[in-house]
Every structure is written in structure tokens, then in C-alpha cells.
Amino acid sequence: MYQENYDDVEFGGDVDLVANSYANSNLVEGELDEEELIMQAQAGVQSIPEPVRNFLANLHRNLANCNVGDLAYNYENQFVRLTDKFYGKEPWPEPQYVAALVGDDGLFLTLYRELYYRHIYSRLHPSMETRFRSFENYCDLFNYILNSDGPLELELPNQWLWDIVDEFIYQFQSFCTHRSRVSKRTPEEIELLKENTQVWNTYSVLNVLYSLIQKSSICEQLEAGQQGGDVTEAAGDFGVRPLYKMLGYFSIIGLVRVHCMLGDYTLALQTLENVELGNSRALFTRVTACHVTVYYYVGFAYLMMGRYADAIQSFVHILTFVSRTRQYHQRSYQFDAVNKKAEQMYALLAIAVSLSPVRVDESIHSYLREKYGDQQHKMQRGGDEATEIMSELYLYACPKFIMPNPPSYIDVEAAGSAMEPQNFQLKIFLREARLQLVIPTLRSFLRLYTTMDLDRLSTFLDMAPAELRNQLMVYKQRCRQIKWVGSPDLLKGEITSTTDLDFALQEDMIFIAESRVGRRYADWFIRNTNKIQDLVNNMENRQKTTIANAGKPKAEESSAASDAATPATAAVEA
């Protein structure tokens, strides 16, 4: 840390990043150095505004005392407010000034640096140096957590833990994208990248995630939980502590994200093996951003696998949740992120519903129609316009894909074309989608008839009979998908028909059949029966109380009157 300042003073432009030994330079000007540095540090500390200094002191104290509740308040409220107030456009105070303020607490400073870099990434533009330093900081943090002798006493709020993992992966993805834009990199940057291949290396990132999962024995814990076994025993010494358990759990979700970014959708879904998606009290519901992320990636993976029905189910589930709980999310930074993901999911849902028309929940349907109604019509008509709109929506809503390896820095042109992975994924997806679009087109025609001659239909559709025959076969093939039926393994499912229109060919005659949904009356009757039963119960209770109170002596008359009043008002509200 101190060496940085020294460098700035003595060696103007030369930025020497990855730690080398400064032993030679230090020996010469020992004392002057110290004084100068102390003065600088003091000046730095003075420049920190009073509220921020208090905040940092509180944070430090709460961390040392493992005061998770107060830490949550510090982190979720105060940090955000102070950032908005003082550091909207500049970084938080330098870590070395903070060190001077709170004393040299290694762990606190590592955590502070994580926040410091996170802030730079979100509000400012991180330089190559910042990226390298941030990676080193993460290495320090995870080394500390993973390589300690025994379980650490540290405890952090869940939101903070999720943000650490989330940000780690985000910075990894940002780095991969940054380095693959070879044409925009200066020669010095390219040299640095070539020499330091271990920085933000894909294997390192995966290693961190897998190690966290392994250390916390989270998979064994989840499995034991599902089968009703002993969770504490499965957890082991490390896994019982919430720090490890939650970090392990969030790492599972993190892995799902990384797999999707690399295009490996099956592995992504397989990683969620023991995480029960249907369980409304599962661990991921504790942090809203995590909850939304899980469903986003699950839905996206299903969409890419061609399992449109499952994708739609995922998206609808989480979008209903988000719209219902919208008023409870007043925390600004989380709210924005969640909203952005929700908007992306609406776009993906629009694509999925165009490809595989099903009825969705009323409120979602109306919002979708309002926002993307026009595009949906165009997509269903097929043709070039459909492809264009689909590409637009897809590129807006897809995750940022990455290439796991550094590009070839030498062959800049080849690197340029090869390094836009989302276009490649989009191409494959579009090919599938174009085939799938047969379904809505044919469906709209077949729906009008019970039998139809092949030749006549081909004239209606303006295509050759042979081609129509092929398209009918494609329709048959595509209307059967695997649909998840609630098993713990997200990849499994039953093969079901996904459209309500079916047909059979007898040589050249098409016989069409439709499946309707019968009238549903049971739910309505049950609900109303329960309602009236509740009403009757309430009235009976009121009657009982008034009878009971009538027999009591006069002294308690006033209290009896108020007692009778409250059940009455309660019954009115019911």
C-alpha cells in the first residue's frame, strides 16, 4: 500500500502493478518516507466527512462484535445513502486512509476494499489497474475464508454475502468482455494481459465457487434436508456456520450463472439438483436479488434448450412474485437491479409465448400485451421481420456471454469476429425459433376446420403440397416437449403436448382435433363455501359473546360494551 504512494511520487508514469519487490528503493529513504506518509495519511483521514467516519467506525465495531442485525442496517441503508450523498461521482476514501482511521484490521480492510471496488465498477469506469487490484482483493478474501484453520467467527448479513458472490462473477464477466475487445486495448494493456494470465482466470473463478460449495458441504445439507435426514451432521464443522452455509449456497447460484454465460445450459440446470425450486421457503428466497436471479437463469436455460413451456412457467412465476411485492422493495439499489431483470424477463417471455402459445396469468398477459403486443404479432407471422424483432429482444434480455479463454492478441481480426459469443448463441437460437414458428402459423389455419384436404390447405398457405407435408411433420415433432413436473431434477420431465391443436394425416386428408379446457367450477364453489362458513362462524361467535356478556354484573358493563364492539368491527371487516 505504502509503496503505491512512493511510486507516484518518484516514478511518474511507470505503473508497476503486480507486486514486485521494492526492497531496493525502500532502504535508501527510510525516515523521510515514514513522515511523509504519515502526513499524507492524516490529511487523507481529515478529508473524510464526519458522517462517513462515523459510519466506518460503526461498521468496524459491528463487524468485530459479529452484530449481524446492525451490520445489515449499516450495509443496506447507510452505505447506500452515504454513497448517494458524498460519492455519487467519485470513489470512496482510499483504503489506506481508512486503515489509518480504524487501525490495521486486515479483514475489515479487505471487506472495505471489496465495497470500494464495487462502487467504482458501478458508478465509475474501472481501469485495468483497478481490475487487477480488485481480483487480488478477492483472492485475499477467499483465501482467508477458505484456508483458515478452523471455522471463522465472522458473520455477515445474507444480502452482503450474496452481493460479494454476485459482484465477483460480474467483475469476472466484465473482465472477459473487456479483454476480448482486443482492438480497443492499448499495447501496454495487452502486454499486461499476456503476462498476467492468472488474473481473472476462468479456472480460478470456478475454483473459488467449487471450493466454497465443498467447504460448506451445502449439497449434502440440501440433500439431507430433502430426504429428512440430519442436516447438522451433514453440514460438518464449517457448514453449520451461516457464513459458510450461505456462501456455499450462493456459490451454487453463482455457478448456474457462470455455466449459462458459457453456453452450458444442461450443466447449469444440473447444478441446481438439490435446490427445490417449488419450495417457497427455500434459502434463495431470503435475498430478493438471488430469488430473481435463480428464476431468470433457469427460465433462460429452458428457453435455450427449446423447452418453452418450462421457460414460460419459470418467468411467469417470478414475474408474479415481483409485481406482487413491488411495494415492499423501497431499497433503491436492489430495486433497480430487480426491476431491470424483470424487464428483461418480460422480453424473453414475449419471445417464448410467441413460439409456444399458452395462456398465462391475467395480469402478466395484460402487461405483456401492452409492452410487446405489437412485436408478438410480428414474431408470430414469421419471416424476416420476425427474426429481426426476436434478435432485438434477445440481445436486450440475454445474459452477457463470455469466452473462457483469452483471445489471440496477435491475430486481431480473427479475435474481433470470434469474440462476440452472444451472436453465436443468438444464431443457434434463431434457427430453432424459425422451425418452431411453424406451430403458430399452422395452428391459426388448422383451428378453423375439422377436416381439410392437404392440397387445399397448401393453396391457402401458398406453398407446395410437399412442403406443407414436411411442415406438418415438423409441427408434430415440435409440439411435443419435455415438461418439468416437479421432480428435484430440473432436467427431467414428461413428454407432453404443448399445443391444444392436434391432427392426423390419412394420406392426403388432415383430421384435426382440438383439446378444450373444461369449465372450472370447483374452485369457485370451494372458495365461496369457505367464505360463507367463515361469516356464519363470526356471527355465531358474536352471538355467543353478547349472550355471555349479558349475564355479567353491571360494574363490567363498560368493558363489556367495548368488548362487544370489537368483535362487531372485526366481523364487519372480515
Binding site: T266, Q477, I526
Partner: protein, 234 residues
């Protein structure tokens, strides 16, 4: 539940299974193990047991991480096997792990074209593309895979039986690229009666039976518990 490509096939040895579920799947030195396993899959002509999608995907992922290990012939074989897999999405899943560069290779490109024809049910174009050019000096793009033709025909026949209730034998001939005699033999094998005009009657099953259905409501017992308990109290 139908057996999907994601279930563990009965022929997968334990060694491969533990490789796939652990972190060893990222170890580039294990690429050879997976390649050998693929070779065994290709040598096995039995379509019920010769396709292990997850293992092949793991191999492709290893290639993605270690581009210097890429063996185009291996990729070709993986894609060819995915082409005739019973689950229609397998080929795509393999594609996602490749790259533009790999897809520009000639044999991979040919497989992509074949796959377009197959998925678009344009069978005559498909067969022409596969076996058409007589003086082709390269080996066929689906070389080295035992039981490819049979697996392919099984797939096409599956589609025919799902779509048609009666179909002209001539049409079948064109779709599976067999001559009249072979088609008749096929009908005998599957017990499909063929009448004098050359129309084959296919058995009715859920896919090709066009019946109007009404989805009835399914009332679960739990929904009635509150009513029943209230009724009991009275």
C-alpha cells in the same frame, strides 16, 4: 417418465459417472478418457444404449476451455450421434458449446446442413446430401458410427407413425430411402397391414390419433379439507 437424454444410461461406467459429477470434468488430462468413451459409443450399434449425451457435452466443454485440445473428428462424431438421438434438442445443446470457428469447418458445416433438412422433415434432400455425390473422395460425414442408418430410420419412422394414420408406401420409400421390397419387409416387421393400392395402415397411438379432448378439472382432496371439517362440526 420417458427416458430422456439426461438420465444416466445403463451402459455408463462408474468411472465416467464420477468424472462427470465432480470437478475432474475440468481436468484437461481427462479428455482422453472421454474420447475413448465416445469411441466405445460409436462402436456400439444398439441405439438404445449407445448415446451418452452428458458425457459428450462434458467433452465439448473441455474443448471450449482448452482450444488446443480440439479434435474436429471427435466433434463431428458427437454431432452425428446427436443428430439421430431420440430427443430432438440434443444437437442444439452440443452446438451451444462450439464456436464460429469450429462451425466453419467443412464436415461440421455439412452436418449442420443435414440437420436442417432432417429437422425440416425434408427427407429427400437429406438423403441426397448424405449419399448423393458418387465420386465423393472424402469419407462420408457420418463415418465410423455403427448403427447410424438404423438409428436414423428409426427416427424417421417414429415421425411418420406420429403424423400419419394411413400413408402411401411410395411416400415412405422416399422418406426412408429404401426400395419397395425393403419397405414391405419393414411393414411386415412392424405388423402394418398394406393393402393392394400400396396404402399402409399405421397403428393408432396417442400421437397420431386425432381426438377431441376436454381437459377436465382435477379437484384435489386437500382443497376440500376446510369444507369437510366444517361439515363435520355441524
Amino acid at each position: 417418465m420417458a427416458n430422456t437424454s439426461f438420465d444416466r444410461p445403463s451402459t455408463r461406467p462408474d468411472e465416467i459417472h464420477s468424472l462427470l459429477i465432480g470437478v475432474e470434468r475440468y481436468n484437461p488430462q481427462k479428455a482422453g478418457v472421454l474420447e475413448d468413451y465416445l469411441a466405445r459409443q460409436c462402436a456400439n450399434p444398439d441405439p438404445a444404449s449407445n448415446h451418452d449425451l452428458m458425457a459428450n457435452l462434458a467433452l465439448l466443454k473441455m474443448y471450449q476451455f482448452n482450444p488446443d485440445l480440439v479434435d474436429l473428428d471427435v466433434i463431428r462424431r458427437i454431432l452425428a450421434k446427436a443428430l439421430i438421438s431420440q430427443s430432438q434438442g440434443d444437437f442444439n445443446l452440443c452446438l451451444y458449446l462450439l464456436s464460429d470457428e469450429i462451425c466453419s469447418d467443412a464436415s461440421i458445416g455439412k452436418l449442420l446442413v443435414l440437420r436442417d433438412y432432417l429437422e425440416g422433415a425434408q427427407f429427400d434432400k437429406f438423403w441426397k446430401e448424405m449419399y448423393g455425390v458418387e465420386d465423393d473422395d472424402d469419407e462420408s460425414v457420418v463415418d465410423g458410427i455403427a448403427g447410424f442408418d438404423n438409428g436414423l430410420r428409426r427416427l424417421i419412422i417414429g415421425e411418420i407413425t406420429s403424423t400419419y394414420q394411413t400413408v402411401a408406401a411410395k411416400a415412405v420409400e422416399k422418406m426412408v430411402n429404401l426400395d419397395e421390397e425393403a419397405v414391405l419387409r419393414l411393414c411386415k416387421e412392424h405388423n402394418w397391414p398394406a393393402d393392394s393400392n400400396g396404402i399402409i395402415t399405421l397403428p393408432l397411438k396417442s400421437e397420431n390419433e386425432a381426438k377431441n379432448t376436454v381437459i377436465k378439472e382435477n379437484v384435489k382432496f386437500e382443497q376440500l379439507t376446510k369444507i369437510l371439517s366444517a361439515a363435520n362440526d355441524i
